[in-house]
Symmetry: C2
Subunit: 349 residues, 2 copies
């Protein structure tokens, strides 16, 4: 069996392949992939733009990430930023620098992951750039979206309630599991399926003392996060951010921009029972993972206290103090401890 | 003297610095740098989007490129794609992955180059992403622009004349000089100035037998290309592309999309006298550099034969053959020989 490398087909052939795979017609796109720039007829709404990078060795580790998952996540993290403004994603541009020694199968899976995520979020690929990478892969996506009403980080008011859209800490706990498993795990499209679990993985899970039912949702949340659509509460919300660097860090950002404080009730922070079990097994604190783990890609938003909101309330916007409240009612001041890419010591890795 | 490294200040401090440097108010920007996504009120025109990457070791070589020039070029090559659609650039998103061991001075110069180019093209920075890079730097910009009328590659008609906006081959010749000079050359803002020419460079130029007046415009065209604004002929034009991979390659692209052929008169191709002199000195063919050198960032466009057009006519769009015509009137069929990033043997490097 001959394994075809990227260097054997060249950039133009790869581009033709992508054009075929993604080149479906869309009436919003007057000119898509293949010219110097793409041309859209913009909607008469607020136009949202965001871009996020994923660099090998910084944002992902191919010893436990499949190319499919990488592609899926690249789209999700960018869509999450559009959602976090209260918008809906519409179009995608991609930049992909990849080693020319890569197998074509790797590239196919990467683009399959991108395509599946784009389908999920109903977005259309309109352009991008391909390049060789001498050493590490580097990927970025630019997402375009629209909003009738947009939500800034700065809109929170004293007296607002603060909400999250789902369990926190699953992704960070999943990452800790993956660092112990040290294998790529292919995940089926349906959550909880055991398809294709290699026997080496079975052995490792047994050794960890954890079942696949516990591990699967956690590693899935890390490897293939799905961004949360804010459509059902965007009208009620006053401010919003997505949780990428951990609840406390992103909460601090929101409060700083809004010039408010916040009071968070530890008991109200949603954590999954699987995360608790896995964290305990690894000697980690479920609360710490939920507060500071990061890469949750849940939405964190505020809404006036009288409104009925379809999300999980975890605290109140207050005048100035930044505190967590434990189950005994004891307040503790917190400060942001971020994941800063250039610092020698980082929280997230 | 202590040299400050990026790792000593961290991502957030760098972000704050950039926000201060670029965060000037613009009425088109409802939300710029610093939230999850940026928010624009789109104009009621065609919206143009493009993105291009520059990867260390593939697109640039820091042994003869200054960080200022790198930043300037990153913006120019992306603006060139907006111009090539007949549009005007308006907003910029940046992705920058850089080694954390870099001096702050390097980053400052990089962003100064970006800023100066952005001023030149009257664009506003609205967002982006910063990351550490384990090994090689990788940069990308996404450019947003608008057009009242947009020009595709596919619009050329048989009988149209074909035009370019300036001299070809200067950039490729400049690159050949830089590979021999093997030093970064700081270029002043004004073309032709001798400011800051280090004596080591003077010696190398003497050894090459070339004067600074000859060398400066050539290396400048490679290191700090300025994109060509199509405003003065966009109404007459029928199709357009920018010359990034060499005249013959980009001409082939335009003709393929337009389903036409082309006849190019070698005598009409504009080349600078300095390029001829430098190419001869290096034993290179000026014509080959002009036809296939690449990175010219001149515009290549077509217009009906009766129209008065403010550019240099180099040939005619014909039914099917792809030929160059030499001074004796002899036709020679050409084929595209592209710069493909993933192929082992490439033309451009």
């Amino acid at each position: 069996m001959t394994v075809k490398k990227l260097s054997q087909i060249g950039e133009l052939a790869l581009l033709a392949k992508i054009k075929k795979q993604f080149g479906k017609k869309s009436e919003s796109v007057l000119c898509g992939i293949g010219d110097d720039a793409s041309v859209l007829k913009p909607l008469n709404k607020f136009l949202l733009l965001t871009t996020d990078m994923m660099v090998e060795g910084v944002h992902f580790d191919l010893t436990f990430t499949t190319p499919y998952q990488l592609g899926f996540k690249l789209v999700s993290v960018n869509v999450s930023d559009i959602y976090a403004m209260g918008g809906q994603p519409s179009h995608v541009l991609l930049n992909i620098a990849v080693q020319k020694e890569r197998d074509l199968a790797f590239i196919d899976l990467l683009f399959k992951g991108i395509q599946d995520a784009m389908k999920r979020y109903q977005t259309v690929l309109i352009g991008g750039d391909l390049s060789a990478a001498p050493k590490d892969m580097s990927l970025s996506a630019t997402l375009i979206g629209y909003a009738d009403k947009y939500l800034l980080r700065s809109g929170a008011n004293i007296g607002d309630k603060i909400y999250v859209t789902g369990n926190l800490g699953d992704s960070a706990c999943g990452l800790q599991l993956l660092k112990r498993i040290k294998n790529p795990i292919s995940l089926s499209r349906k959550t909880g399926s055991r398809n294709n679990m290699p026997s080496a993985l079975r052995t490792k899970l047994t050794r960890l003392g954890l079942s696949w039912n516990v591990v699967e949702p956690l590693v899935r949340r890390h490897l293939m996060p799905e961004a949360r659509n804010p459509a059902k509460f965007v009208q009620q919300a006053t401010s919003m951010i997505d949780i990428s660097d951990g609840l406390l860090v992103d909460l601090t950002r929101l409060c700083k921009e809004s010039r408010t404080g916040v009071k968070i009730y530890e008991e109200e922070i949603p954590v999954s029972s699987g995360m608790k079990e896995a964290a305990m097994h690894m000697g980690l604190s479920p609360l710490a993972l939920a507060l500071a783990g990061g890469e949750d890609y849940e939405l964190l938003f505020t809404a006036p206290s009288g409104k009925k909101v379809n999300a999980i309330c975890i605290g109140d916007i207050v005048q100035s103090k930044m505190v967590t409240v434990n189950r005994k009612g004891k307040e503790k001041t917190f400060s942001a401890r971020g994941y800063q890419h250039f610092q020698v010591r980082s929280e997230r890795k």
